[in-house]
C-alpha cells in the first residue's frame, strides 16, 4: 500500500508557550512494498514523523494518506499499522508467546488461527524456541525479534520501526539489519525504518529520506543520494570517512585551489563550498600536486592528509600507488565527483 505525507507539520508547544517545530512541511510518497529509511541526526523529528503516521501524535497541519484513504484524523488502532519501539516496549509480565498473541486477542481471529499465526511469525523471525520465556530472559537481539513479530502478526498495512537496532551491539546490528531486510522482502510490507546511522540506512533502504531540523533534505535511493547529494547537509551526513569540505572560488571558469587552477568547471564565477569524498581521489602521475602533511597506511588503503585552501583534506588512495616517503603526491578527481554547493542555500549547483 502506498503511503503519502502531504505538507505534514508538527509544532510542540511547551507549558511556557515556547514552540518547537519538530517536523516542517514534509511531503513524501512511499511506494507500496518498499523499505524507506528515515535518516537524520538526533532530534531532527524522525520519531515525531513516525508517531504521526502511527497516529500517536496529532499533526499540527498536513495530511497522511494510506493508499487513497485520508487517515490523518483516524485513531491509531484503526490504521492497521505495526510499530516497533526504540526500546521494544515488550510487556514484561507476559511470555514471548503472549506478547505476540496480544494484538490478535483484540481482533476477530479464531483461537486456533491466532496460535498458528503466532507460531508462524515466531519462526519467521527465528525465535520459535523461545515462546515460553519472559522478555527479561532474552538478549537484546531476541527481544528485538519478538517486537518485530508482535508488530507483524496482525498483518499490518505498514510497518514502522523506530531506531530498532540502536540498543544492539555492533555485530548484532549488522546481522539484524539483514534479517529485517529479509523479513520485509518476504512479507512485502511497506516499511519505514528510522535511524540516525547513515551506514545502516544506506545498507537497508530501497529509498531514504534525510531530515534536518524537521525539514526534508532529500528523498532518493541510497546510492544516488551518495553520488548526487542534493545539498551540503546531505553530502556531509552520508559517507564514512566523511566528505571533505572547504571554500573555493571559481574564477574565469576555473576552480581555484591553493592559488592554482585546479580544474575547468562550468558554473558561474563565485565563492562556493566544495565537497570531495576522500575515496574519490586517485594517485596518478599527471595529478594535482599537494604537499603531504600526514600519511597513514591502513592495509590496502592509504590516507593522505593535506591542505586545500587552508582546510585539512583527506584522500583515501590505493596503497600501491603511493609510498610513505613521498613529500608531494599527485592526486586527481573526476569532475563528476566534485560537488559545488551554493554558499547561501547550500544547494548543489553542478549536479542533478
Amino acid at each position: 500500500m502506498e503511503l503519502r505525507l502531504e505538507n505534514l507539520t508538527k509544532i510542540f508547544t511547551n507549558r511556557t508557550g515556547i514552540e518547537t517545530t519538530a517536523v516542517k512541511n514534509l511531503d513524501i510518497t512511499i511506494e507500496s512494498g518498499t523499505l524507506v529509511g528515515l535518516l537524520g541526526p538526533s532530534g531532527c523529528g524522525k520519531s515525531t514523523t513516525l508517531f504521526m503516521i502511527a497516529g500517536l501524535e496529532k499533526p499540527t497541519s498536513g495530511k497522511i494518506f494510506f493508499g487513497d484513504d485520508d487517515v490523518t484524523k483516524l485513531a491509531p488502532e484503526k490504521r492497521g499499522i505495526g510499530l516497533v519501539f526504540q526500546n521494544y516496549a515488550l510487556y514484561p509480565h507476559m511470555t514471548v508467546f503472549n506478547n505476540i498473541l496480544f494484538p490478535l486477542e483484540n481482533l476477530d481471529v479464531p483461537k486456533d488461527e491466532a496460535i498458528k499465526r503466532v507460531k508462524e511469525m515466531a519462526n519467521l523471525v527465528g525465535i520459535g524456541e523461545l515462546l515460553d520465556r519472559k522478555p527479561s530472559q532474552l538478549s537484546g537481539g531476541q527481544q528485538q525479534r519478538v517486537a518485530i513479530a508482535r508488530a507483524l502478526v496482525k498483518k499490518p498495512r505498514v510497518l514502522l520501526l523506530d531506531e530498532p537496532l540502536s540498543n544492539l551491539d555492533a555485530r548484532l546490528r549488522l546481522q539484524m539489519r539483514e534479517e529485517i531486510k529479509r523479513i520485509q522482502r518476504e512479507t512485502g510490507i511497506t516499511t519505514i525504518f528510522v535511524t540516525h546511522d547513515q551506514e545502516e540506512a544506506m545498507s537497508i533502504s530501497d529509498k531514504m529520506v534525510v531530515l534536518d531540523f524537521g525539514v526534508k533534505q532529500q528523498y532518493a535511493s541510497p546510492q544516488s543520494m551518495y553520488t548526487d547529494p542534493g545539498n551540503l547537509f546531505v553530502g556531509k551526513f552520508l559517507g564514512n570517512p566523511p566528505i571533505n569540505t572547504f571554500e573555493a572560488e571559481v574564477k574565469k571558469g576555473y576552480l581555484m585551489i591553493n592559488d592554482k587552477k585546479f580544474m575547468k568547471i562550468k558554473v558561474p564565477d563565485a565563492l562556493y563550498d566544495i565537497g570531495m569524498r576522500p575515496e574519490n581521489f586517485r594517485a596518478v602521475a599527471e595529478g594535482f600536486d599537494v604537499d603531504v602533511k600526514d600519511i597513514y597506511h591502513i592495509g590496502r588503503d592509504t590516507m593522505v592528509h593535506f591542505d586545500f585552501n587552508g582546510q585539512n583534506v583527506r584522500a583515501l588512495v590505493d596503497s600501491d600507488d603511493i609510498s610513505s616517503e613521498d613529500k608531494v603526491v599527485h592526486l586527481s578527481i573526476k569532475e563528476s565527483r566534485i560537488y559545488l554547493f551554493d554558499k547561501e542555500t547550500g544547494k548543489v549547483v553542478n549536479h542533478g
Binding site: G55, N87, F102, P103, N106, L107
Partner: protein
C-alpha cells in the same frame, strides 16, 4: 524606585552568595579533615573497612531502628509470651497463683462475645472483625485501583482531584468519625435527608443511634473504614501507575486494545507488587481496627440501647487492659497472640496465592 528595587535585589543576592560561599568552605573544611584522617589511617595501616566485618557495620547502622524496635515491639511480644502462661496475674502486686499453658487461650476462645456470640445476639469480636476485613478490604482496594486509574487518565483538574482524595489521609480519624456519625443521624442527618428525597420513609431510620439494627450500623462502619483508608491506597496506586512506561500504552493503543483490557492486562500486572503490598497491609490494618469503631460508636462499641456489640478483636483485648475487665493482662496477651496467629496465617496464605499473579 527602580533603583531602590535593584539595590535591594543586589543586597539579598550578596547575602545569598555569602551563605553559599560559607557552606562551600565548610564542605571544603570537612573534606580536608576527612582526607587527613584517611591519610593518617593509611600511614599507620589502620583500616576500619577491612577490620570490621560487614555484619558488624550493618549492626551499627541499624542500631537506632533496632533499639526503638526492641523497646516498643520485641520486648512487648516476648513479654506477652511470658504473660500468657500466668494464672491470675496481679499487676499491682506482681503476683501469680500458678502457671498454665492453654488456660488463658481457652478463657479467650470460650469467652462469649469473642468467637461465640453472646446468647442474645449474633455478633462477636471475631465475627465483627472478619466481616469488616472481608468486606472493606476488597472493596477499598478495588475502588482505589479504579479511582487511581481514572485519575491518571484525566488531565485538567488532576491535582485538584488528587488533593481531594488525599484529604482523608491528613485528617484526624476521630474527627472524621464524628462527622460521619453526624451525617448518619436519625433526625435531620444528611443521609436520611438524602434518602427522604427519593421517597424512602426515614421516620426513625437510625444508623448509629439507638434502635439501629446490626447491619445498618455495620454498614456505616464499613463505609467509614473504606473511605478513611482509601486515600493512602489511591496515592500509592496512582504513583505506581504514573511510573509505568508510556510506551506500553502506546503499543496497546496501536493494537486496538479496549480500555478494560489495558487496565486488566497491562496496568494491573505492572503494578501487581504494589497491589499485593497494599492488600497485605490493608488486611493487617483491618484486623487491627479500633479507632474507627470508637469514633463512630464510642468506647462501648455499640449504639445506645442495642443488644449487640460492634467491638473488634483489638477492642476485646483492650477491655482487659484498660476497660471493663481491667488488669487481666494474661487474657489480653492470649487475645493478642491469637490475633497475631490469625494475621500470620492469612498473610502466608496471601503470599502463597500471589506467587503466580504478582510480577516483580
Amino acid at each position: 524606585m527602580a533603583n531602590l528595587k535593584n539595590s535591594v535585589i543586589a543586597f539579598f543576592g550578596k547575602i545569598l552568595n555569602a551563605i553559599k560561599t560559607f557552606f562551600w568552605n565548610v564542605r571544603r573544611l570537612f573534606t580536608n579533615i576527612k582526607n587527613r584522617f584517611g591519610d593518617f589511617l593509611d600511614k599507620h595501616n589502620i583500616n576500619f573497612v577491612t577490620r570490621f566485618p560487614n555484619w558488624a557495620k550493618a549492626l551499627l547502622y541499624l542500631s537506632p531502628a533496632l533499639i526503638v524496635l526492641m523497646v516498643f515491639t520485641f520486648y512487648p511480644i516476648i513479654n506477652s509470651f511470658a504473660l500468657v502462661v500466668y494464672q491470675n496475674y496481679n499487676m499491682t502486686t506482681e503476683t501469680v497463683t500458678g502457671y498454665t499453658i492453654f488456660g488463658n487461650f481457652i478463657t479467650v476462645l470460650t469467652d462469649e462475645s469473642f468467637i461465640v456470640p453472646a446468647s442474645h445476639t449474633a455478633s462477636s469480636a471475631v465475627i465483627n472483625t472478619l466481616i469488616i476485613v472481608f468486606i472493606s478490604v476488597p472493596i477499598s482496594v478495588l475502588l482505589a485501583l479504579f479511582i487511581a486509574a481514572a485519575l491518571n487518565t484525566i488531565k485538567p483538574l488532576k491535582s485538584f482531584f488528587q488533593t481531594i482524595y488525599f484529604l482523608p489521609y491528613v485528617t484526624n480519624t476521630i474527627a472524621i468519625g464524628l462527622v460521619f456519625a453526624y451525617m448518619f443521624r436519625t433526625d435531620g442527618g444528611l443521609v436520611n435527608q438524602f434518602l427522604g428525597l427519593f421517597g424512602v420513609n426515614v421516620e426513625g431510620l437510625s444508623w448509629v443511634e439507638s434502635g439501629a439494627v446490626y447491619w445498618r450500623s455495620m454498614f456505616v462502619l464499613i463505609f467509614y473504614s473504606i473511605w478513611s483508608t482509601l486515600a493512602f491506597k489511591i496515592m500509592v496506586f496512582l504513583t505506581s501507575i504514573q511510573g509505568i512506561d508510556k510506551q506500553y500504552y502506546q503499543a496497546a493503543a496501536i493494537d486496538a486494545t479496549p480500555r478494560g483490557r489495558i487496565f486488566s492486562k497491562i496496568t494491573v500486572p505492572l503494578i501487581s507488587p504494589m497491589i499485593f503490598y497494599i492488600l497485605v497491609t490493608s488486611v493487617i490494618g483491618a484486623f487491627k481496627i479500633y479507632n474507627s469503631i470508637v469514633a463512630l460508636f464510642g468506647v462501648s462499641g455499640a449504639p445506645a440501647g442495642v443488644d449487640y456489640n460492634l467491638q473488634s478483636i483489638v477492642m476485646y483485648i483492650y477491655q482487659f487492659i484498660d476497660g471493663s475487665n481491667a488488669g487481666n493482662l494474661s487474657v489480653a496477651a492470649a487475645g493478642s497472640l491469637i490475633l497475631f496467629a490469625i494475621i500470620l496465617v492469612l498473610t502466608l496464605v496471601q503470599m502463597q496465592a500471589s506467587k503466580r499473579r504478582v510480577h516483580y
